[in-house]
Symmetry: C2
Subunit: 391 residues, 2 copies
C-alpha cells in the first residue's frame, strides 16, 4: 500500500508480483504502478485544474512527483489543440514541447521517478526523440545519462544529446544489439536482483548500476504520456472525442493515451473512452500484421522509410496495445511511403511544421474515413508528435 | 473611434495622424494602434483567464481578433515559466512555440490583422525566426507569402519557409537591400497611397500589392509580443518581476514586453512596471552605443557572430526602445562572443536547449548582477527566445 511516503510500488499486470522498482518483472513482463492515484471525486470544476502548471496540473492523477521538489520539469504540456478543418479533425500539436516532441511528457515523469528512487545515472536506448528528451531532462535533473544508439547513426541526430551533457554510446549491429548493450549497463539485463530499476523489493538505490529510463519499458514514462488523454478531455471540459488516431511504434503515446482515458473513466471524469487507432509504418507493422495479416502490414513490399520514429519490429508492450485496440473498438493500420509523403506536404502547406513520422496519423484518418471505420461527423483528435525542426 | 466593427485604426505616436492601415506613417515613423483595448475593470479573478486558450486568453487586451473567426492561430503561447536556480532567475521558454521561437506571438496577431484587413498576399524580410513564423502562419491562414532574404543565405535556413508554401525571394546586396526589395513589393516603399498596409484612410484592401507583415514595423506584431508581458504577470497572479532581461535586435520582444507591461499598469492589473534590460550583440549594438558610447557597444573590436538573431545595425523603433529603457529605469548591454559561447554551453548542460542568440540574455544577467544594476534578491525573468533545434 502506498502511504504517500517514498516512491510508489510497481506491479506486474501479468503475474501480480509487486516490487519497489525494477525495469521489468521477474516473469519478464513490463510493469505498471501498483496503485496509481484514482481521484475519489468526480470531474474537477473549471478553475480547479490550473493550466499554467502544464501537465503537472494533473498531479492528482500522477503516481510520481507527489513532492513538488522532486519534479523534473521544464513546464511542459498543455499543448495546443486546434481545428484542422481540411481534415475534419482536431490536431493536438505534440511538437510544441521543449525538445520538440511528445516524448517530453514521458521524460518529465520518468526523471521525476528517477529522483524519487535516488538514482544518479540513467540509460536509455534511442537515437531519436526519446533519447533527446531523456538526455535533456536528465540535464535538468543534474543526473548523468548515457544514450545507447546504433553505431551508424548520423552525428547530427546526436547533437541535442551531446549538448545536454549526456554520453551517446555507439553500438555496432542492429537495433536489438543496441538494446542489449543498454541492458548490460543496468546490470545484466535478466538479473534477479542487483540490477537497477532497481534490485528487488528490499531496496532501490541502484547501486553502481544505471537506471533504465526506457520509453518502452518504464511505467513512469507511460504515466507521463497518459497526460495526453487528460489534456484532450480537459480541453472539452471532460468529454472525450469519438476517436483518437496516433502513430504507433512501441506505443509510447498510444498506450499512454489508453491508460489515461481509462483512468479518467474509472474516476468518473469521462463517460466514454475513445476508439484508439494506431498507425504503423508499412513494411514494419507488427500490430497490423497480428490483426490483419501480412498483406495489410506490408501492402507493397516496401518500407515507409520516412516514418523512422515508429519502425519497431517488436514492440515491448504489444499485448497491451492489442488489448487497447480490442478494448476500445479501435484498430491498427499501416501507411505507406507515398501516402506519408503526400500527407507531409499537406501538413506543412497548412502551417503544421512536423517531422515526417507524424504524417502517418492524419494520412490514416483519411483512409479510415474512406473505409467507414470513422464516420464523417465523428469527433477525432490526431496528435502531431514531432517538430519539423528535427529534420 | 473604434466601434468594434472592422479593423481598428492606427495612429502615429510622433505626429498623431491616424490611418486605417499603412505600414508606416506619412511622416515616416512606425505606427501604433490608435485605441488599443484597455480593460475598465481591475485584474481578472483566477479562472477568468482560461490558459487553455494560449495567448488568446488575453483577448480583452488585444486590438486584433475581436471576431474569433478571424484569428490565425496554432494555439500558441502560455509558454513555460520555470525556475533556473543556477541563474537566480526564472526562464520563460519562448522556444516552446509551433515554429520554435517567440516570433509566433507576433505572427498570430499579424496574420489575424491581415485577415481583418482582407489582404491575400503578405511580404516580410527575414531569413530567420520571423520569416519562418510569418510563412507558417500565412500558410495557416491560406494567404500567400513572399519572404525576402539575402542572396547568400544558406538553403537550410529556408526550409521551413519553403515547406509552408511561401516563396523565398533572394536579394543580392546587404541586409538593407533586402528590405528595399521588400518595400518595393508593397508598392514603392515611400508612396503616399496606393501602397498596401494599406493605401490611406479611405480603404485598405491592399489592391494588387502585398501587405507588409513586418516584425519590425507592424504594430500588430508588437501587440502579439506584448502577450509575453501578460503571461509573465498572469503567472504571478498579476504581479510583475523586478526586472526582465531580453535579447534586443529590432526590439520585437523588448518593446512588445514594454507595451504589454505598460498596458497592464494603465489597466490597474499590475502596480509596477519591471525594469527592462535589452541585450545586444557586441560589435552591432546601436542602442548600447547610444547610451554608453562606442567602447561599451564594441568592447573588443569583434562581432558576436553567433548572436545572428539580433545583429540589427539600425533598429526601426530605436526611439521607442530608448524610451522604454529610460521609462523603466532599465539599460542596454552588449555581450561578446566568448560570454555567449560559455553561456550557451551552460544553458544546454542545464536542459535548456536554445539557439545561440538566446544565450546573450542570461549572460547579461550575470554581468548586470556583478555590476550591481540588478540586486541578488531581485526577481528576474529571462526569456529564452529560440529553439536549439533551429541550428
Amino acid at each position: 500500500m502506498d502511504d504517500g511516503n517514498g516512491p510508489r510500488r510497481l506491479q506486474c499486470p501479468a503475474c501480480s508480483r509487486t516490487t519497489l522498482d525494477r525495469w521489468r518483472c521477474r516473469c519478464g513482463e513490463p510493469l505498471a504502478f501498483a496503485e496509481p492515484p484514482i481521484p475519489e471525486h468526480g470531474p474537477p470544476a473549471p478553475g480547479d485544474i490550473d493550466a499554467r502548471n502544464g501537465l503537472w496540473a494533473f498531479e492528482q492523477l500522477l503516481p510520481v512527483g507527489a513532492d513538488p521538489r522532486d519534479r523534473v520539469t521544464l513546464g511542459e504540456g498543455m499543448t495546443p489543440l486546434v481545428d484542422a478543418p481540411e481534415w475534419g479533425a482536431s490536431f493536438k500539436l505534440e511538437y510544441v514541447f521543449p525538445t520538440g516532441s511528445f516524448k517530453d511528457r514521458g521524460a518529465t515523469t520518468t526523471l521525476t521517478r528517477a529522483v524519487e528512487i535516488g538514482v544518479d545515472r540513467v540509460v536509455e536506448d534511442s537515437s531519436g526523440n526519446a533519447g533527446a528528451a531523456i538526455a535533456t531532462y536528465a540535464a535538468r535533473a543534474g543526473i548523468d545519462a548515457e544514450i545507447y544508439v546504433p553505431a551508424a547513426v548520423a552525428e547530427g541526430k546526436l547533437r541535442a544529446i551531446r549538448r545536454a551533457g549526456a554520453t551517446p554510446v555507439r553500438v555496432p549491429g542492429d537495433r536489438a544489439a543496441v538494446t542489449e548493450a543498454c541492458l548490460a549497463a543496468i546490470g545484466g539485463g535478466e538479473g534477479e536482483g542487483g540490477e537497477p530499476n532497481a534490485a528487488d523489493d528490499t531496496g532501490g538505490d541502484g547501486g553502481t548500476d544505471a537506471w533504465y529510463a526506457s520509453h518502452a519499458w518504464n511505467p513512469a514514462f507511460f504515466e507521463g504520456t497518459a497526460t495526453f488523454a487528460y489534456e484532450v478531455a480537459f480541453a472539452s471540459d471532460w468529454t472525450a472525442p469519438d476517436a483518437v488516431v496516433t502513430p504507433l511504434g512501441h506505443g509510447t503515446l498510444f498506450l499512454g493515451a489508453y491508460w489515461g482515458f481509462r483512468r479518467l473513466h474509472r474516476a468518473g471524469w469521462i463517460d466514454d473512452i475513445p476508439r484508439l487507432y494506431g498507425v504503423q509504418a508499412a513494411g514494419i507493422a507488427p500490430i497490423v500484421r497480428e490483426l490483419h495479416g501480412p498483406e495489410a502490414a506490408d501492402p507493397d513490399g516496401t518500407i515507409a522509410e520516412a516514418a523512422d520514429g515508429i519502425q519497431i519490429a517488436e514492440p515491448v508492450r504489444s499485448e497491451g496495445v492489442l488489448a487497447a485496440i480490442r478494448g476500445t473498438g479501435g484498430d491498427a493500420i499501416a501507411v505507406g511511403a507515398d501516402d506519408l509523403s503526400d500527407e507531409l506536404d499537406r501538413l506543412h502547406a497548412a502551417g503544421f511544421y512536423t517531422e515526417p513520422t507524424c504524417a502517418v496519423a492524419p494520412a490514416a484518418l483519411t483512409i479510415l474515413r474512406e473505409r467507414g471505420e470513422i464516420g464523417p461527423d465523428e469527433e477525432v483528435v490526431v496528435p502531431l508528435t514531432g517538430s519539423g525542426l528535427k529534420k
